[in-house]
């Protein structure tokens, strides 16, 4: 710097600076440059794969060799709808997903409500972490933990023995359909583990939704003569409902598509995910597997549309 009192001239050279000016006058181009890499990645790799898969459901298998034939045919779909047990698989999976969603909403709401409305700042941070840790920690490890807990000689049985409640456990396991030889080989076990694994996905959106309910609204409700219960039912619950819907997107979808939990804990009758996995793997019937995956895609498509209507995306 020679003339200390004067700032250096604003004109500067350099390729980067030139590029910056070039882009400054063209916000559209800059936007395109920013968007192109993620869009290309997701658009080509992800959506491309998704469409590849859906397209596969219009291919068929050669009857003799069992090898996939790349010719457009509706045979796979005829077979899909022709086989009644396929409907059972879909229905069983949907019922499980619905039950898990309901259970998670019931467990999650009080926790979220306490977190947002009553917990102090420190407690709240800790609770937050307590929800985040299982969410992000290993899925398999957590499933494995339940294998230990629910096993025939595992923790639940041991506690039942110690508390002289063995008869109760027996009685529960003897319930038709959902029962079984042990908790880890019954639908009850599958249900418990699903509910456990996806619970954080329900808690966080509800917390987000509750956080958006302004305190003044609750005070206004009280001021207008509503007691705590009425305020909860008439004000808090409706305002937090989009959060429940947002959470249910995850719990429902994740349950619908999971194939690992039911194969480790539960009966041998298959769920949707297991069926798809078996079809593409051991059976080598990619077209039928593809047809099966259309089901959750359609179900989730409808679900997402309804959820968007209900304002659930704001709570995501």
């Amino acid at each position: 710097m020679t003339a200390a009192a004067l700032p250096a001239p604003r004109q500067r050279g350099g390729a980067l600076s030139g590029l910056s000016s070039f882009l400054h006058g063209r916000p559209g181009l800059l936007l395109a440059l920013l968007l192109a890499p993620p869009l290309v990645w997701l658009g080509i790799i992800y959506l491309g794969s998704l469409f590849t898969l859906l397209a596969h459901s219009f291919f068929g298998l050669d009857e003799f060799s069992g090898v996939m034939v790349r010719e457009v045919t509706l045979d796979t779909w005829k077979e899909f709808f022709g086989n009644a047990s396929n409907g059972d698989v879909v229905l069983r999976s949907a019922l499980m997903a619905a039950a898990v969603t309901a259970a998670d909403a019931l467990i999650a709401f009080p926790l979220a409500y306490f977190m947002v409305r009553f917990a102090g700042i420190r407690t709240r941070g800790l609770l937050y972490l307590a929800v985040m840790l299982p969410l992000w920690s290993s899925y398999l490890v957590r499933v494995y933990a339940w294998k230990l807990i629910l096993a025939k000689e595992g923790i639940v049985s041991w506690f039942a023995q110690q508390l002289h409640l063995g008869w109760l456990l027996e009685a529960v396991l003897e319930i038709p359909v959902v029962g079984g030889p042990s908790l880890s080989t019954s639908y009850i076990g599958t249900f418990i583990v699903f509910s456990y694994i996806w619970l954080p996905f329900m808690i966080l959106p509800i917390v987000a939704a509750l956080e958006r309910v302004p305190g003044s609204v609750i005070e206004a409700s009280g001021d207008l003569g509503a007691d705590a219960g009425q305020t909860f039912r008439k004000v808090i619950l409706p305002l937090a409902f989009p959060g429940v819907v947002a959470g249910s997107i995850f719990t429902f979808s994740l349950t619908l598509g999971d194939y690992i939990i039911p194969s480790i804990i539960g009966k041998s009758t298959p769920f949707l995910g297991e069926t798809v996995f078996r079809l593409q793997g051991t059976a080598g019937n990619i077209p039928m597997a593809a047809a099966f995956t259309v089901v959750p895609v359609v179900v989730m498509g409808v679900y997402l549309m309804v959820a968007k209507r209900l304002g659930a995306f704001d709570a995501l």
Partner: protein
């Protein structure tokens, strides 16, 4: 709703339900840790008959465990980098301007985690098969990066939204061109969000099994190794030890991410 008011008190029922929910979330993890120290080899008997730390040494000596661990770390790191770049670009674009199809971008980014993992997995598998691509680290990375993008995107976008656009204008007003503004203002503002998003992406990748089974071929990441042990157990105590190790490896980045964004609670956005 502010929580630090002295107004309402929670009833014991609500407190019990909260405590129950937290216990439900954490007891299984504690039990895994407990079993890692068990001397019992064959069954899941409870209470465990005795304590030992010998399995940690045994697990570390296992060649297959170390190979799986190395693959998981490698895939996690590369996926994290890809997700960091793509997620940040998408967040910047969405934050910068309102453009047609903005909503669709968010939906597209959420899709890989909103749709069941098996769909993402089998889609990638069928595309890999169609194009005759051999399975490799890169097929794993493609799958993992796809669902990790949204984690970075949400973290960074949440930070962007709390960053005043006027800061960028102020920087340019003071003579900084776009790249100088990026270096001196934008990157420092989003640094912790990037770090948190990156760590969560790593944790997500390190742990993923559903999509991984479809894109791995014969390779075994740590979760794949665990899955095979769960279905066909060979040495249960080693599985227990690996499980504890995995808990530790994922907990550290999560707590760190939480700490980095504690003022902003961006981590909530990480879920989305």
């Amino acid at each position: 709703m502010p929580s630090d008011r002295h107004g309402p008190r929670a009833g014991w029922g609500l407190k019990a339900a909260t405590a129950g929910g937290v216990l439900f979330l954490h007891l299984p993890l504690l039990i895994i840790v407990l079993y890692a120290f068990s001397i019992e080899e064959r069954s899941f008997a409870f209470p465990i008959p005795g304590f030992t730390t010998q399995w940690f040494g045994v697990a570390w000596e296992r060649e297959d465990v170390r190979r799986a661990l190395w693959l998981s770390v490698k895939v996690g790191a590369i996926s994290m980098l890809v997700a960091l770049v793509l997620g940040t670009l998408a967040a910047a674009a969405v934050w910068r301007s309102r453009f047609f199809g903005r909503e669709a971008i968010s939906l597209l980014l959420i899709l890989p985690i909103a749709l069941p993992g098996i769909i993402t997995g089998i889609s990638l598998r069928s595309a890999i098969g169609l194009l005759d691509i051999p399975f490799s680290t890169w097929t794993l990375v493609i799958g993992h990066a796809t669902f990790c993008i949204v984690v970075v995107y949400n973290n960074v976008l949440a930070r962007f939204r709390r960053t005043s656009r006027a800061l960028i204008e102020a920087s340019m007003d003071l003579g900084a061109d776009g790249f100088q503004t990026l270096r001196h203002v934008i990157l420092p503002s989003i640094a912790t969000a990037l770090l948190a998003g990156g760590m969560l992406a790593f944790a997500l990748s390190f742990d993923e099994v559903i999509v991984t089974t479809f894109t791995a071929g014969q390779q075994a990441t740590l979760p794949i190794w665990m899955l095979s042990e769960l279905i066909r157990p060979r040495q249960r105590p080693v599985t227990n030890v690996v499980a504890v190790f995995v808990i530790c490896v994922t907990f550290i980045p999560i707590i760190a991410a939480f700490w980095l964004t504690r003022d902003a609670q961006d981590t909530a956005g990480a879920l989305k």
